[in-house]
Each structure stands twice: as structure tokens, then as C-alpha cells.
């Protein structure tokens, strides 16, 4: 098992951090970019997963399982959120027959 550990050490932590940051930014950009609510939801998932990756990487470097447990919880919550989010979208679709986020502008001023 030693080689695995050394293998992990081969890749610097920064790489994971950068990767996560990039993923997070892309996700965030997607949220801003997309108009389709379902796609926005997917981008949100991207953001969550970048966090997961980051936590796992830190966890591995710290040799601390807590980080990975946290990832587990994030997954749980993400699943629940997606369920709720999708059901809201379904409901919206039923009411206005669209998943366009720009339609959400009746509540204002």
C-alpha cells in the first residue's frame, strides 16, 4: 500500500485545488450562462462536485477521514436538493409550460 500513498504524493495538492477551482468556476459560469433551469441545476451539481473533489483531496493529504465523510453528506444533500429542485421545475412547467429562467420575473420591485 505504500506505493499508493507515494503515488498520491506524486501529484501536488495544488493541482487538485486548481482543478476544483476551475470546475467550480465553470459551474458558476454555467449557472450565470444558461437559461434552461434544468441545465442550471446541472451546473449547480458541477459546483457541488468541485467541492467534493477538493474535500477529498484535502482529506487524502491530511489523512483525515472526516473530509470524506463530509463529501458523503454533501452527496446526500445534493441528491435531496436535486429531487426538490426538479420537482419544482416540473411544477413550473405544468403551470407555464416552460423551463425558462427569464420567465421568473413576476415578483419584482
Amino acid at each position: 500500500m505504500k506505493d499508493i500513498s507515494s503515488a498520491i504524493q506524486l501529484i501536488p495538492l495544488e493541482n487538485y485545488v486548481f482543478l476544483s477551482v476551475a470546475l467550480f468556476s465553470i459551474g458558476m459560469m454555467g449557472v450565470l450562462f444558461r437559461r434552461n433551469t434544468i441545465a442550471i441545476l446541472m451546473c449547480l451539481e458541477l459546483m457541488f462536485n468541485s467541492v467534493n473533489l477538493l474535500l477529498t483531496a484535502f482529506s487524502a493529504y491530511h489523512s483525515d477521514p472526516a473530509g470524506q465523510v463530509f463529501v458523503f453528506f454533501i452527496m446526500i444533500v445534493a441528491a435531496a436538493e436535486v429531487a426538490v429542485g426538479l420537482s419544482i421545475i416540473v411544477m413550473m412547467k405544468r403551470n407555464v409550460d416552460s423551463v425558462d429562467i427569464n420567465l421568473l420575473n413576476r415578483l419584482k420591485w
Partner: protein
């Protein structure tokens, strides 16, 4: 702990009672559960118990906040008896979801680990996303729900990113350990840690709707069913501030200077933006949303003053604020019904003519929000200012005072409407229970304004 367990159990019981097709028993059962919860919570007073490897620390602080939130929830449930009479479906679900949200709030008051904070926020939020969309056929309700959901999740993502960064630096989620970790830097934090902390703070700030992360709140308040709005404006805000305070008190204080400045900026922005936007507001629910933002600013002021009694003041402020806001929403519901669904401020016209006592109590509540004596709202603001001034934040206090003046304008604008003649008077019908509750709230606001006791938390 037993209180928390009992609460979840009652939530599930209420959910299952929904099958009984008998709406009338729901509220009594739920309220009984909440009352027992209060009892069980108070039993733990001064014990300072810790659970599950310090995942949860139930101290006086959390008990006090829990009890205050449960009391407000009871109030909302009592009002709900009448409110849900017209609703045919999902009444049990509404009650249950509120109770679930309350369990989330409980977690937020007693966490000592970031994971519990995260879970607490989510357990609080997800029921709220659902509750906000409670009027399924109303697109406004859908919109509120989705906006809340999307912005909430978005904020959660940042929050989690922040936790990840902090974890990366400190290798722990446990607040006291984070505190010691931060302490070793002596104020000069590495940027990653700083950004992580910032993201965590932003995540919580979003929940309590601090500017510039407040944009969701007016829309969501407006679109949600009014009772849910009341719940959001009161219990959720209380929970958010309990969590905020705990986060700061257990983990992050003394804040590094840049972060502290950031929070001050947020505070002042909240006061300013909330007030300005409320000035010309014509929709009552939005008005109260902006008012909530302003009051958030005041609570931030109390919190950031970092005084020994900040927690006590925060508790008092949130409770008093809730006590005035809930009945205002209820009065609003009745006025809305009397004016066939309008939400404008003008619907209050003729209130004094028809129901003078209700107008009087409305005056008391609005005065409390505006912070005029002899109501509790005044004392709350007074105590906040005592904190901030005694810590020497004179300029900010003056700013807050100017903002308080602006606030009076729109509260009294509403009041003025209530005391003017109506062109189209529809009968205002109000149930006896709700009248009694409004009176109780009004008297409580007055009494709390005259006699306060300091809770040692």
C-alpha cells in the same frame, strides 16, 4: 437532545395524521408537540450537555433560541388553524415541514461542527423551498420557490467551497479547533483560509438576507404563502442569526480585520438598501421583507459589537421582532381577504373605521418595528445601540440611527393608510382565536418593552 428527538417524532406523527383526513386535529397535535419540546428544552437549562463527540452542544444559548423559535412557531400554528381552513390538500405536510424546518433550526443553534451547521441549514432550507411553493397552482408561488431554491443552492455551493478551503487549511470541521488554528496566525491569515472563512460567512449571510445577498428575500417573501413568509421572516431569521452568532462566537472571533470590515460593510449596506428600497414600496409583504433586511442590519450591529451581552440582545431582538412581525402578517392576511387578494398598502384603508382595536394593535406592532417606545422594539434597538456605542462604534451607530429615522417613515406610511378612510369598505372578518392572539402579541410587545430581564446566555 430529547427535545430534538421529540420534535422529529412529532413531525412524522403530524405527517401521518394527514392520512386521517381530519384537519382539525393537526394543529392541536403539533402544538402539543411543540409545548412538550419547550418543556424538554428548558429542562436542560444550565446543564450544558454535549452529544456525539461534541457534534452538538446544547447550552443555554441554544436552549434560549430554541425556545424562542418554538414559541413563534406555536404562534404561527395557532394562526394557521384559521389560515389553513380553506386549504384542502397537504395541510399535514405544511405543518410537518415547518416542524422539520424547526429541527434544522435546532441544529443551527447548537452545532459545534461545520457539518452540523451545513446539515442544519439544509434541513431548514429544503422544507422552506417546498413551503414557498405551497400554492402549487400559483405561478408566483412557483417563482418564489424556485428563486429561493436556486439562489439558496448557489449560496450553499459557495458555503461548501468555503468549508472545503477551511478544512484544507485546518484539517478539521470542529469549530473550537478551527479557532485555535486561526489563533496561531495572529491575525495574518493565509489568503486561502481567509477566502474560505469569507465564503462560510457569505453562506450564512445569505440565509439571514444580508445585503448584497438579500435579493432573494423580497421576491420570495412576496410570492410565498403569507404564513410561510411569516415563518421565514421570523423563525428562519432567528435560526440564521443563532447560527451566525455561534459560528462567530465559537469559531471565528476575534475576526481578522478584513473579514470584520467586510461584515461591517454588509451591515451598513443592509441598513441602507433595505431602508431605501422600502421607502416607496407599495406591496406590504415586500415592505416587510425590506424591513426584515433592515432589522437584519441592526442584528448584525449587535452581533458585530462583540459584547458580552451580544447574544442576549440578539435573542431579545429576534424574539421581539418576530413577535411583532407575525401578527402583522396575520392582519395583512385578513385585509387581503377583505380586498379580494390585493397586497397593496392601500388595502389597510378603513381598518381603523371597521376594527379600531385592530388598528391600535397594528400601531403597536409597527411602532415596535420602527423602534418607538414603549414597545419592545424600542428596547431592542436601544440595547443594540448600547452595545455598539459602548464598543465605540460611534460613526456606525449614528449611521444606524439615521437609518432608523428613515424606517419610521415607511412604517408610519402604512399606519397612515390604516387610519384613513376607505373608498370601498369590505367587511373584515376575523376569527375569535386570531383576535385573541393579536391582543396577546400586542400586550406581550408592550410588556416586553416595559419589563425586560436579561437571560444569562
Amino acid at each position: 437532545m430529547s427535545a430534538l428527538i421529540l420534535l422529529t417524532v412529532f413531525g412524522i406523527i403530524v405527517l401521518y395524521l394527514g392520512f386521517a383526513n381530519n384537519k382539525t386535529i393537526l394543529a392541536p397535535v403539533a402544538i402539543t408537540g411543540l409545548l412538550i419540546t419547550i418543556f424538554l428544552s428548558i429542562k436542560d437549562w444550565n446543564l450544558g450537555s454535549k452529544y456525539f463527540h461534541d457534534m452538538m452542544i446544547i447550552d443555554n444559548f441554544s436552549i434560549a433560541f430554541n425556545v424562542s423559535m418554538v414559541i413563534i412557531t406555536i404562534l404561527i400554528f395557532l394562526f394557521g388553524v384559521n389560515y389553513y381552513k380553506r386549504m384542502e390538500h397537504y395541510v399535514a405536510e405544511q405543518y410537518a415541514l415547518m416542524i422539520f424546518a424547526l429541527t434544522g433550526a435546532f441544529l443551527m443553534t447548537s452545532f459545534s461542527n461545520l457539518i452540523m451547521l451545513f446539515l442544519g441549514i439544509e434541513i431548514l432550507s429544503i422544507p422552506l423551498y417546498i413551503l414557498a411553493g405551497g400554492k402549487k397552482t400559483s405561478f408566483r408561488s412557483n417563482e418564489a420557490s424556485f428563486k429561493y431554491f436556486l439562489l439558496g443552492s448557489f449560496a450553499t455551493a459557495f458555503f461548501l467551497f468555503g468549508i472545503a478551503l477551511v478544512y484544507g487549511a485546518s484539517a478539521t470541521f470542529y469549530l473550537p479547533e478551527i479557532k485555535t488554528y486561526i489563533a496561531q496566525f495572529n491575525g495574518q491569515l493565509p489568503p486561502m483560509l481567509m477566502v474560505g472563512l469569507l465564503f462560510i460567512l457569505i453562506g450564512v449571510s445569505f440565509k439571514v438576507a444580508v445585503a448584497p445577498f438579500h435579493f432573494w428575500s423580497p421576491d420570495v417573501y412576496e410570492g410565498s404563502p403569507t404564513l410561510v413568509t411569516a415563518f421565514m421572516a421570523t423563525v428562519v431569521k432567528t435560526a440564521g442569526f443563532a447560527a451566525f452568532y455561534r459560528l462567530l462566537g465559537m469559531g471565528l472571533l476575534p475576526l481578522p480585520a478584513p473579514l470584520e470590515k467586510t461584515l461591517w460593510v454588509m451591515t451598513m449596506l443592509s441598513l441602507l438598501v433595505g431602508n431605501l428600497a422600502a421607502l416607496r414600496q407599495t406591496n406590504f409583504k415586500r415592505l416587510l421583507a425590506y424591513s426584515a433586511i433592515v432589522n437584519t442590519g441592526f442584528m448584525m450591529l449587535a452581533m458585530l459589537s462583540q459584547h458580552d451581552s451580544s447574544a442576549s440582545v440578539l435573542l431579545y431582538y429576534t424574539f421581539v421582532y418576530s413577535l411583532a412581525t407575525v401578527p402583522l402578517f396575520i392582519i395583512f392576511i385578513y385585509m387581503k381577504r377583505a380586498s379580494s387578494g390585493l397586497e397593496e398598502l392601500t388595502i389597510f384603508r378603513g381598518l381603523y373605521k371597521q376594527k379600531p382595536w385592530m388598528a391600535v394593535f397594528m400601531t403597536i406592532f409597527l411602532m415596535s418595528l420602527a423602534g418607538l417606545p414603549p414597545t419592545a422594539g424600542f428596547l431592542a434597538k436601544y440595547r443594540v445601540f448600547v452595545l455598539s456605542i459602548s464598543r465605540g462604534y460611534l460613526a456606525i451607530s449614528i449611521f444606524a440611527i439615521v437609518m432608523a429615522i428613515i424606517g419610521v417613515y415607511y412604517y408610519f406610511y402604512v399606519l397612515r393608510e390604516a387610519f384613513s378612510e376607505s373608498d370601498n369598505p369590505n367587511p373584515i372578518e376575523i376569527s375569535r382565536l386570531n383576535s385573541a392572539l393579536i391582543v396577546v402579541c400586542g400586550v406581550a410587545v408592550l410588556l416586553l418593552g416595559l419589563f425586560v430581564w436579561s437571560v444569562p446566555i
